[in-house]
Every structure is written in structure tokens, then in C-alpha cells.
């Protein structure tokens, strides 16, 4: 990446990037820890406390929602437009995918529960890809 003075980030870019990292970091660390706990069956996550540990994933999820909203509020008007368009694409993919999985499940095409998780992950990746594509020519 070109880091020449001409292409350096503006002060508001730097401040936003720092705030973005601080907003996302707790959720990402929590998700990583919860994954490890679930993977290794620690603290009863494989037995009696399974429901508790599963639902605890909602906490970092809600934290991410908070981070996204705060990021949108901090963004300037052009960035906000790009982010909203990318979010709309990701949301559209998620709704379509989950609706399709639901239809297939109702039609009795096997057990598709894993596909719900995959739809969720794919929609996040598509959201990020759409944002990078939208802003690639202006970097």
C-alpha cells in the first residue's frame, strides 16, 4: 500500500480507524474466547451449561451491532453512503439465503441447520466485500 504523504489518511480517518478498532476489539476477543470454550468443552459448555454458553454468544453479537451503529454515526457522508449500500447488499443476501433455507427445510430437503450459520457468515463476508469494492477506486 502506498503510504506516501500524498496518500496518507486524514486526521479524521485515523481517529475513526482507532475508534473502530476499540469498538470491535472487545466483541472479537469475546467471540474468540467463546469459540475456544465451546471447542474444548470448558466450564461445562459441553454438558449442563451448554445452553448458557450458546446464548452467551448473543452478547458479543449485540456489541457488534453497537459497533456498526457507532461506526455509521462517526463516518462522514460519503463513507456512510458506501457503508449503507454495502449493508443493504449483505442484508439482502442474508434474507434471501435464510428464506431459501427455510423453503428447502419445509420441503424436506435434509437437515439444513448448518446452512443458517453459513448464510450468516457469507452475508458478513459479502457486506465487507461490497464495502471494499465500493471504496476501492477512491483509496
Amino acid at each position: 500500500m502506498d503510504k506516501s504523504p500524498k496518500n496518507r489518511q486524514s486526521r479524521s480517518d485515523t481517529a475513526r480507524a482507532r475508534a473502530w478498532l476499540l469498538d470491535w476489539l472487545p466483541a472479537l476477543v469475546a467471540l474468540g474466547l467463546l469459540s475456544l470454550i465451546a471447542e474444548f468443552g470448558l466450564f461445562g459448555s459441553a454438558d449442563s451449561w451448554k445452553l448458557f454458553w450458546s446464548l452467551l454468544n448473543l452478547a458479543p453479537g449485540l456489541w457488534i451491532v453497537r459497533a456498526v451503529v457507532r461506526g455509521l454515526r462517526r463516518a462522514d457522508e460519503y463513507q456512510r453512503r458506501c457503508q449503507l449500500e454495502a449493508l443493504a447488499i449483505g442484508f439482502g443476501v442474508l434474507i434471501t439465503a435464510i428464506y431459501t433455507v427455510g423453503l428447502l427445510q419445509a420441503a424436506g430437503v435434509g437437515d439444513l441447520r448448518q446452512m443458517v450459520q453459513l448464510s450468516f457468515l457469507a452475508s458478513i463476508l459479502i457486506w465487507i466485500a461490497a464495502l471494499l469494492f465500493k471504496t476501492s477506486r477512491t483509496r
Binding site: 504523504p5 496518507r8 486524514s10 479524521s12 480517518d13 475513526r16 462522514d76 457522508e77 460519503y78 477512491t138
Partner: protein, 70 residues
């Protein structure tokens, strides 16, 4: 819309980042405005006009090709 942002910025020997810092926006936003990919809101247009010390109508012009259709 067309604009004279790049022209006025270059005359002052400001980089896109310099202008972004003065307007408290991202460098991407400056690039998008200069290349006509994005038309700024009225508040940002006023801010740009103030930074350059020019009236808004001296900075932004209707693009005959695209604006006449609307």
C-alpha cells in the same frame, strides 16, 4: 455535478489529505467529490466554499450531460 475542487486545491498546493483535514472528512470523500463520483451535501458544500473562500456557485456547476435529464 462538475466542480473546481481539484483546480483550487492544486493552486493552494494542498494534497487531498490536507483538504480532508480542513473539512474533517476522509481523503476518500475528497477523491470521490473531485472525480464527480459523489455530490456533497449542502452543509459540506458550504464548508468547502468557506475553506476556499469562494461562493458555492463558483465551485459547483451543473453537468449538462447528466443533470439535464433530472
Amino acid at each position: 455535478m462538475k466542480n473546481r475542487l481539484r483546480e483550487l486545491r492544486v493552486v493552494r498546493r494542498w494534497s487531498q489529505t490536507d483538504l480532508a483535514d480542513r473539512l474533517d472528512v476522509s481523503r476518500q470523500t475528497i477523491y470521490a467529490i473531485e472525480t464527480g463520483r459523489y455530490d456533497p451535501s449542502l452543509p459540506l458544500a458550504f464548508k468547502i466554499a468557506a475553506v476556499f473562500g469562494e461562493p458555492i456557485e463558483g465551485l459547483f456547476f451543473p453537468d449538462e450531460d447528466t443533470d439535464s435529464a433530472t
